[in-house]
Symmetry: C2
Subunit: 317 residues, 2 copies
Amino acid sequence: MSGGTDKVAIIGCGLIGRGWAIAFARAGWRVALWDSATGAAAASVDAIRLGLHDLETAGLLEADASIVANSVAVVETMQQAVDGASYVQENAPEQAEIKRDVFLALDRITSPNALIGSSTSTMPGSVFLADVPGRHRCIVAHPSNPPHLMPVVEIVPSPWHDDATVTRVRLLMQSIGQAPIVVKQEIEGFVLNRLQAAVINEAISLVGEDAIDPSDLDSVMKHGLGLRWALMGPFETMDLNAPQGFLDYARRYGALYESMGRALHVAAPWPPSALTRIESSREARRANEPVSAQMARRDRALMQLLAMKKTIGLDAK
Amino acid sequence: MSGGTDKVAIIGCGLIGRGWAIAFARAGWRVALWDSATGAAAASVDAIRLGLHDLETAGLLEADASIVANSVAVVETMQQAVDGASYVQENAPEQAEIKRDVFLALDRITSPNALIGSSTSTMPGSVFLADVPGRHRCIVAHPSNPPHLMPVVEIVPSPWHDDATVTRVRLLMQSIGQAPIVVKQEIEGFVLNRLQAAVINEAISLVGEDAIDPSDLDSVMKHGLGLRWALMGPFETMDLNAPQGFLDYARRYGALYESMGRALHVAAPWPPSALTRIESSREARRANEPVSAQMARRDRALMQLLAMKKTIGLDAK
């Protein structure tokens, strides 16, 4: 763990921390793994090696996987993890007190120039950063799961952020091949989960009123909307679906969307009968395959998709 | 135009009709093209040939493109189009009177066993089928655009449908490689556009309250959610994101989604300031590329994605 390359400290080595470790190692960083639970960091190494190997197989790794894996090291203390690190990614449990304590500790022991990002998916920084003296250099950097296969990272500044922190974390994420975006306000769910909630709430409601069977609903997405959205966002899609572009689309179809909006039921509690029906449908299709095997299959499919997008120049740049 | 193969009549040869012609020809059907506007059917032939050629290049056509193209013929009258056709796909303009007149005519001149599907994206059958004597064999079969690259087809029975019509059209669509789903009620927007509206309305609102820049919003989709949704639907995704599957996910996160649901603003009219900002962002990125070139690029990307999904066994079966 020496030399001129950048170093990242991964604090918390569950699924998300492991993915981050792979993402940083892939980009040539030195990676230090630390977890407050004894043995947890060491236990993550095999999964990280396997992840790097899978990336190599998919043509998504420029160097040899086993060489890249050598840049990942397990350390014994939080202090060792952050020594010499220019960036720290926190992946502690999703509880405000825990996050606050971890950030207080990190702020005390890191180099004053280091930036500290949190993987939190539900808590804006204002929930756990108020008491942290160096809160100007702390920020939410929320990945999707798994981070090394889902490029998007939601950067959410807290009320006390330094503008330079936003800029530097955005550039840093770009430099390791992620697709950072900035959420300019501390809104509930940030942006990704807000869009996901809009779809999921409507999907469950449609099953609840028996407008569609669960497996058909999934088909609408994976054999329809999702194909487009893997390649272009909603605004890009609209821009291409009217002769004169986006505004033309808004003029032609705005009233229709407003009307459909009134028909959407996104705020209702999920009806239990719908949940039961969806569970039965999933059960019938799971075919007793263990979750780990299903996840591995999903990850391989994501890698194929990323490799395909890279080939045609539609990857995150 | 003879032999034992199935024959489809394509009524209306705009973008949607052309895509349907490609989809049926690809599956080995004889295709008759007719359009009420003189010359329109003939004008569509080059685009159909090109579409078949592109499919061949992408490895998505089993036979030789030029041989397949020979199964597509332009005819002079609606009667010639439907003669011997077991299925008719109507792609007339989106106006109730026009659809009604076309269905009245088709019902009169088709073989009594033929099934008649409408490509309408906005009108349930009850809007234009009430006066059609053979309305039991008429049904909405709404494709996504372009039909030959977006497998999903929304089958929407009217109040007067014959159950056998639903079953036969579903099987027919499966047999040509599409992904048919059944919308069991005549709800506004069917299902695909309801899910799309949930996303678009929320996306525009988020830009409207300056929570995110338009190009970042697109990134959240194409470098995040959309990658998953190209491979699996929302219920499949939920099933895989909690240790005990779908119901476990619903228990863990239901309250969060309900709370996010309350924060969603899906029924508001689109704020003009948001539309202006999105248009400016799109303008800056369009780079003066003609719409036709952008569409061709989108279609090639879709073909790569379909070929990739086919390779890993995630295509519509």
